[in-house]
């Protein structure tokens, strides 16, 4: 195993363990902390794939932006009620079955893939080290994947408007 591989498995393990912690912690702030850890490990894996830009953006957007908002809301809203509620409801059996199926699928792919699944050399655009990371992402995003990009942004716009409308109705009913 190379240094790279050891690093990868460490990061992957941290990501999975802290993801489990996110859903099992009673204290929402602790959950948020583990979510941040997960996001960091994923950013580390991006770095291994020579996607520095993606790694940095992952940290800036998710850790620096979204998680701060999460914490803000968690602290603002009274959570004493939440922490005493039961953590899992009746859907947990279905969820467990679904995860088990996914696990089996992963296992199958890894076993069938054999050596090739161990950590392949970097392929695709990131392989081209002569060009800058951001440049490549820009080119891919705005040339090859223009349509998905636009659809995703439209979806986000709809979500924003929906959130605003929900919040507005809420405020109006207060009066």
């Amino acid at each position: 195993m190379t240094f790279d591989q050891i690093l990868f498995y460490c990061l992957a393990a941290i990501a999975i363990i802290s993801a489990l912690m996110v859903i099992t912690r009673r204290n929402p702030v602790h959950s948020a902390m583990f979510l941040i850890t997960t996001l960091f490990s994923v950013a580390g894996i991006y770095l291994q794939l020579h996607a520095e830009f993606l790694a940095a953006v992952q940290v800036i957007v998710y850790v620096g932006g979204i998680m701060v908002l999460f914490l803000f809301v968690i602290m603002l809203v009274n959570l004493e009620v939440v922490s005493t509620e039961r953590r899992f409801n009746k859907q947990w059996i279905i969820a467990l079955i679904a995860s088990a199926v996914l696990l089996v699928e992963f296992g199958y792919v890894i076993v069938r893939g054999g050596k090739s699944s161990l950590l392949p050399p970097v392929t695709g655009p990131a392989q081209d080290l002569t060009r800058k990371n951001s440049e490549q992402i820009g080119l891919m995003l705005y040339q090859n994947y223009m349509l998905p990009f636009e659809i995703a942004s439209l979806l986000l716009l709809v979500a924003i408007i929906g959130a605003v409308i929900l919040a507005k109705r809420r405020l109006a009913s207060d009066k």
């Binding site: 800036i60 620096g64 932006g65 908002l69 803000f72 602290m75």
Partner: protein, 342 residues
């Protein structure tokens, strides 16, 4: 092996120690400058002109009792200052103090630790982690004033980071690179500091920088007259010192980035004017530190002059003025770049 491990390790050690010293004397600078502006003397007792005061303070804080309040989330409470401090110091690994390099024992040594091709993003990413130390520190204290300080801090960071990011983007459109060294070199090639080309971006960056470091007039998370001391009300001893050091390290950091992005880093003033080329006799590092010193002075000056914003006013300034202006600035810059390709 020496080139890959030993030299960086020594560099890191030196920069870390120098930075610690700078942080300590930044507090001294602040106290002296504010005292000068307020017709008083400032520290005068420890050493000549109070020069040993920062060291006395550090020693005092180190030997103070480390109090963890009852009901606090102990682990987060103990870790929070560290979360703030580590990014504040780590970021200096990508700050280029100068492009000149010397040879030590036959190995070329640069005046920076490393040059990352996404340097400025690295800076932004790490500085966005620092805020968690403040938020978690306030929350874990299990006390109401720190909690309010945390809430304010969270809201403030989210709002001002966006405008700051756009201000930086307007520079990137000119530099065409995210690497800190390339950004300075781009200014050398253009012959102008970016502050001249991007005055709006520069001012937005400055304002956001003050807000990001929780300094007056944006010092709401620790507003001593409203929230007593905000997020670090419950901290004492060395943990408080860590917060304190992180704040000053962040000030130096924001000043360094301002110098690098907008004031040409290590470049002398007007690098393209032949008549002023004699200024290049002064080494680049000196120029760099002079610029950083100026921005530090500006911070202190603001603190001595301005009253504090209120929470909603701060939000209004951020969302209603800075963000739209910075976005408009980016669009304008992009359009200009497209039509007047240089």
């Amino acid at each position: 092996m020496v080139e890959y491990f030993l030299i960086p390790a020594v560099q890191i050690l030196i920069i870390f120690l120098v930075l610690l010293l700078f942080v300590a004397y930044a507090t001294y600078l602040e106290r002296k400058v504010v005292a000068f502006m307020q017709v008083r003397l400032g520290p005068m007792r420890v050493g000549p002109y109070g020069l040993l005061q920062p060291i006395a303070d550090a020693v005092k804080l180190m030997f103070k009792e480390d109090i963890v309040p009852a009901g606090a989330d102990k682990w987060i409470f103990m870790f929070a200052p560290v979360i703030t401090m580590i990014p504040a110091f780590t970021v200096f690994s990508v700050i280029p103090f100068s492009d000149s390099h010397t040879t030590v024992f036959g190995y070329p040594v640069h005046l920076y630790i490393t040059d990352v091709n996404v340097g400025i993003l690295f800076v932004l990413a790490l500085s966005s982690i620092g805020v968690f130390g403040i938020i978690l520190g306030g929350w874990s204290s299990n006390s109401k004033y720190p909690l309010l300080g945390s809430l304010r801090s969270a809201a403030q960071m989210v709002s001002y980071e966006v405008a700051m990011g756009f201000a930086i983007v307007s520079v990137l459109i000119y530099s065409r690179s995210l690497s800190m060294i390339d950004i300075v070199n781009a200014q050398k090639d253009m012959g102008w500091w970016f502050a001249v080309i991007q005055p709006i971006g520069f001012f937005i960056y400055l304002i956001c920088g003050v807000a990001e470091t929780n300094r007056a007039p944006f010092d709401l998370p620790e507003a001593e007259s409203e929230l007593v001391a905000g997020f670090h009300t419950e901290y004492s001893g060395f943990r408080f010192a860590i917060y304190f050091m992180a704040e000053y390290a962040n000030m130096i950091l924001i000043s360094s980035i301002a110098a690098t992005l907008f004031w040409g880093g290590w470049l002398s003033p007007f690098p393209n004017v032949k008549a002023l080329s004699f200024l290049q006799v002064v080494p680049g590092v000196v120029w760099f530190f002079l610029k950083v010193f100026f921005f530090m002075y500006l911070y202190i000056w603001l603190r001595a002059t301005l009253p504090r914003f209120r929470y909603d006013q701060l939000m209004r300034v951020g969302w209603k003025y800075l963000i739209p202006i910075s976005i408009g600035n980016v669009i304008l810059t992009a359009v200009l770049r497209l039509y007047f390709r240089t």
